[in-house]
Symmetry: C2
Subunit: 647 residues, 2 copies
Amino acid sequence: MSPVVGSAFFLFYLLALCNASGADIALDAKATLLHRIDSLNLLIYTCLLTLTVLTIWVFKHRRVSWLHETGLAVIYGLIVGAIIRYASSTNQVTYIDAHPAPDTKYNLSVPPDILRFRFPDKIQISSGDTVPNKTYAYSFRGEIVNLEQNEIDLKATFDPEIFFNIILPPIIFHAGYCLKRKYFFRNLGAILTFAMVGTALSALVIGALMYGFVQLMPASLASSFTFLDTLYFGALISPTDPLTVLAIFSQLKVDVNLYAMIFGESVLNDAVALVLSGAIQNYEKRYSVDGGFEITAFLAAIGDFIGIFSLSLLVGALLGCFTALMTKFTHVRDWPLLESALFVLMSYAAFLIAEVFELTGVVAVLFCGICQAHYTYNNLSSDSRNRTKQLFELLNFLAENFIFTYIGVSMFTFPKHHFDPWFIIAGFLTSTLGRAVNIYPLSFLLNLGRKPPIPMNFQHMLFFSGLRGAMSFALAIRNTVSEARQAMLTTTSLIVIATVVLQGGAATHALAYLRIPTGQGQNDENEALPYRDVRSLYQATDSGRPETPRSGEAGEKARLARLWGALDSRLLKPLLTHARPPLTETLPGFLSPLARILTTTRQYTQADNSLRRTDSDSDLCLDEPQPVPTSIDPQLSFSLRNGYGNV
Amino acid sequence: MSPVVGSAFFLFYLLALCNASGADIALDAKATLLHRIDSLNLLIYTCLLTLTVLTIWVFKHRRVSWLHETGLAVIYGLIVGAIIRYASSTNQVTYIDAHPAPDTKYNLSVPPDILRFRFPDKIQISSGDTVPNKTYAYSFRGEIVNLEQNEIDLKATFDPEIFFNIILPPIIFHAGYCLKRKYFFRNLGAILTFAMVGTALSALVIGALMYGFVQLMPASLASSFTFLDTLYFGALISPTDPLTVLAIFSQLKVDVNLYAMIFGESVLNDAVALVLSGAIQNYEKRYSVDGGFEITAFLAAIGDFIGIFSLSLLVGALLGCFTALMTKFTHVRDWPLLESALFVLMSYAAFLIAEVFELTGVVAVLFCGICQAHYTYNNLSSDSRNRTKQLFELLNFLAENFIFTYIGVSMFTFPKHHFDPWFIIAGFLTSTLGRAVNIYPLSFLLNLGRKPPIPMNFQHMLFFSGLRGAMSFALAIRNTVSEARQAMLTTTSLIVIATVVLQGGAATHALAYLRIPTGQGQNDENEALPYRDVRSLYQATDSGRPETPRSGEAGEKARLARLWGALDSRLLKPLLTHARPPLTETLPGFLSPLARILTTTRQYTQADNSLRRTDSDSDLCLDEPQPVPTSIDPQLSFSLRNGYGNV
C-alpha cells in the first residue's frame, strides 16, 4: 500500500510540473492529467479498501472484536486523508473572471448552461490560421459564494450525487433484500413507531435544541442559522446505522427480536430521514425569504412527506411485484443469467423511476428489495438466488466500506469543512439527547400495549445502538453552499466517526454491562422448528388451525402483522409466487375463472413438502445454508452464517 | 416498456415548460431537472436492456437463431434512438458568449479550469441585498469548433470516457477470466499471428486504401483527412468482436480449435488495436504540423506500441500473481466475501495502476484476468469461485448489451455524427479487405509451419467472423472534434451495426455453407479424457513420460506453448497455487530452503487425485459443471453449458 501511494504522490508531483508547449498539446496533456488524477483518486480508494479487507481478515483471524470493518475503514481513511492533505502538493485550479461579451443579447433569468469563452491564445501561430482566438465551452457548475475560497478541488473528492445515485442504492436494496422478515413483521409495531414517529420526534427535538444552542452562541454564528437549518440538521443526524453493533449481535447470537428492532428501525429511518429532509428543503424553497414558520406551509411539508414516502413505497413495491409476476409466468428461470439480469435491471428501474418522478429513489429501492425477497426470490432458479444474493452482498460490502473510507478521507480533503467547536459540541449533545427522546418515551408508550414489554436493558441497548452512518453523511455533503451547511457537514462527519469507532468498539462491553443474554436467538429457534416457516405460521393463526404453543411469542405478534399475514398468504403469495394454497382455494367463488388463469400448474401439482424448499420466506440471508467450501477451518461455517450474511 | 417511455416523454415536455420565478428557485429547479434527465437517460437504457433480456428469452424459448442478443440490442437501440430524436422536444441548451473581464490580469497559455462568471441577475430584489450580481462557476469542457452547432447535448448520451473506464474493463476482464486456456495455448502461434501481425497489417492496409479513396473524392473531403487520420481509422476498425458467431459456435458445438482461434484473436486484437491507436495519436501529437510521415517518429510510435503493450501486460500479470500469492499464503479464503472483495479490488487496481502510469488499463485488466483464472482461481474457496465467475458473467452481459444498445441509440441522438456516403462505402469495402488481408496471407504463412494446417473452410470462417464491435465504437466515439473524426464515428457505427445484425444473423448459414462440422468439439474431448487436464498433459510432454496417442494433436501444439507449459507447471503454478508438484521437487537443490518456505502444507499433503478438483486449469467457464436448478426443462442443461458460459 504505502509504496503505491508513495509512487502515486511522486507521480502527482511530476504531473504538476508538466508544462508542455503549444496550446493544443497543453490542452491534451491537461485532459490526460485530469484522467490520471481521476484514476489516481480511484486507485487510492481501491488500495484503501484492499487494505481494509486484509486488515479485517487479520482481525477476524485473530478474533479481534473491538474494531469493526467500518471503524477500520474510517480510521484508514483519516490517515490517508491527512497524508494527502499535508504531504502532497496543492494542485491549484486556474481561474479567470469572465463577463458576458459586450455585444451579447440575451434574455435569461437563469445563468446559461454553457459559456462560450473566447480565450485569447497567447501563442502566435506563424501560418495564416484563420482562428487565432479559440472558443472553448464551459459548463455550469454552481454558485460561487466565497470568492476568496480558491481551494483545492481535485483532491480525492467525488460529486456528492454519486452517493445518492451509485453508493446508497445497493446498500439500501441489500438491506431490504436481506431483511429478516419473520422477526421484522413480528416487531412491526415497535419498528414503525421508532422509525416513523421516533425519527420525526428526534429531528424536531434536535432541531429545536440546536436552535436554542445557536442563539446562545456568538452573534456571527447565531445569525447564520435559521430554525429550518437546525431542523434540517436534526433530520439528517437522526437516522441510525448500527452496522457495527449488528455485526457483533450476530456473532454473539443476541436475542433476535432485539436484532430485528434495531435493524428494522435503521433500515426504515434512513428512508424516513431522507424524505423528511426533502420535505424541509421544499418548505425552505417555498418560504426562503425569512426562514419563518407558517402553518400552511408546515402542513404542506407534512403532506409532501406522506405523499412522497407512500408514492415511493408504491413504486418500489409495484416494480418488485412486477418482477415477481414476470418470473412466475415466464420460463426465464431456465436461463439463470437472463433471470439475474432481469432482477437487477428491474430493481434499478425502481430507483430510477422514483427519481424521474421526483420521488425518493432510495425509499423505492428499499421496498423493491423487500418485495423481491418476499415474492420474486421464491420464483427464481437456485442459480439466480445465489447469484443475486452474492452480488448484492458484495456490492453492499464494497459500497459500505467505500463510504466509510470516504468519510475518513474527506475529513481532510473535502474543501468545504467549517470547524466550529460550539456547534460540534452542541451537535454531539443534542444527537445523544435526540436518540434518548426517540427510544425511552416511545418504548414506554409501546410497553402499554405490548404483550412481552421491551425490557429496560433492551431499551438501553436500543439507545446505545444509535450510531450514525452513511445516510447522515450523504445528506450532509449534498449541500455545502452556506457556512451553516458546512458546519453541519463537519459536525456530522465527526459524529459519524466518533460513534462508529468508539460506540462500535464498546458494543461488546455494552452487551455484557447491560446483561443482555447472548448465545441464543435464531439458531435455537430454527432447531426447534426445523420444517416450519413463517407462512405456515400465519396460516395456522389465521385459519384457526391449532398452533404448537411457543413460549409466549404468539401473543407478541402485532395486530398489523396478523392482518398483513392474512392478505399476504391468501392473495399476494399465491398470486405472485408458486406458493400454495393456490388462488383457486383462497379467492371467493365468483372470481374462480380469474383465479384459474393466475394459478400455474406447478402450484396445483406441487406437494406440500416441497414448500419448505421453494418458499424461503424466513430469513433469506441468515438461515439458508450457503455453499460450504470443500476444505476449510472449522470456524468458517460459523463466520459464513454470522459474519456477513445479515448485516 | 412503451407506456414507460411514453410517460417519460410526457414528463420531458412538462419539465421543459417548467419556469419558476426567482433566480435561486429557478436554479434549484434546473439542478433538479438535470438530475431527472440523467435519471431518465439511465431509465431509458434500463428499460431497453430489460426489453432485450425478455426478447432474448422469447427467442431462446422458441429457438430462434437468426438474431443474437447483441443484434437485438442494436435494433432496439436504433428504434428508441429514432423515437427520442424525432418524437421528443429538443431540450435546447442555453448559451452565452463570454469574454475575460476587462480588468483581469492572467498569465495562462491554456484556457483556465474554472470561469467565474458574473451574471447580471435580471430579477430585482426589493430588499437591500448586497449581492445583486451573482457569480457562478463554470468548468472547462472542450473546444468549440463549429459555433453554429447548437445541437442537443443532453439527449441520452454519455461521456465517452465512461466506455473506457466503466464499460470495457469488466468485458475485457471477463474475456481473460473465461479464456479457454487449454485451446488458447495450443493455438497460441496462430492467435498471436492473427492478433498482432494481422491487426497491424489490417490497420495499415485499411489506412492506405482509405487514404487513396479519400484522395479520389471531392476536394473538400480529401483535404480534411490526413494519412494519419485514415491510419487511425484503420486501427480502430481492425479489432473484431465475434460475440454472435461464438455464441452460435458453442450452441452448435463447432470445432474447439476454430473457436479458440476466433475467440483468442478477438480478445487480443482489442488490446492491440487500443495500444496501436494510442501510438498513432502520440505520433500525431508529436508531428501535428502537417500530418506527414517521419521515419524517426514512426519508429518511436512502434517503440511506444511495444513498450506500452508489454508494460501494461506486466502490470496486469503482476497484480494477478500478487492476488494469487495473497490468496495462497493467507487464510482469507475462510471468509469468502472478503476473498471475493479482494479479488475484485485487485483486478480493478490493475486497470487503475496502468491508467495512472499512462499505460493501457484494458490490456492490464485482460492479462490480469488471465492470471487470475490461471493461478488465483485455484486458490479460491468454492464460494468465491462461483461468486466471481457469476459476478463477472453478469457484469459482462449487462455491459455488452448496454454498449450495443448505446450504439443503436447514439446513431440518432449523438450530436456529432457526420454522414458522408463516400466515406461510408469506402469504409465498408476497406474493412472487408482488411479482414481478408489479415486472414488469408497469414494463414498461408502459418500453414507452412503448422502440422495440421488451417483448412480453407476454417480460413473462410475466420474471415467471416470479422464482426466489429464494442472496442471499435469506443475508440471512434472517444474523439469527435474534427469533421474527419465524426465521419469515422458514423462509418464505424454503421459497420458495427451491419456486421452484428447481418453477419451475426447469417452465421448459422455460413457454417452450413462452408461445411464446417458441428456437434463435436469440447464435449467429445472431455468424454475422451474424463480425468485429465492440461497440466498433466504438459507434464507428460515435458518430462518425457509416455502420452496416450491422440489423433495428431500432440504435434499441433505450438513450441511456444510447450516452453510456457514447462515454466508454468514447474515454477509458476507451484509458486502461486497449491498445485503439485511442489517447488521442493521442481527447483534445483541449492534453492531448496526458499522452496520450502514457498510451499504450503497443503501442497505436500494433498493427494494426486484431488488435483482434478483443485486445479481448474482447463476450461474455466466451459467445462465446469454449473449448479443446476432443481426443477427445469431438459433444455436448460444444454443452454447452461453453451448459451452463456463461454462467450
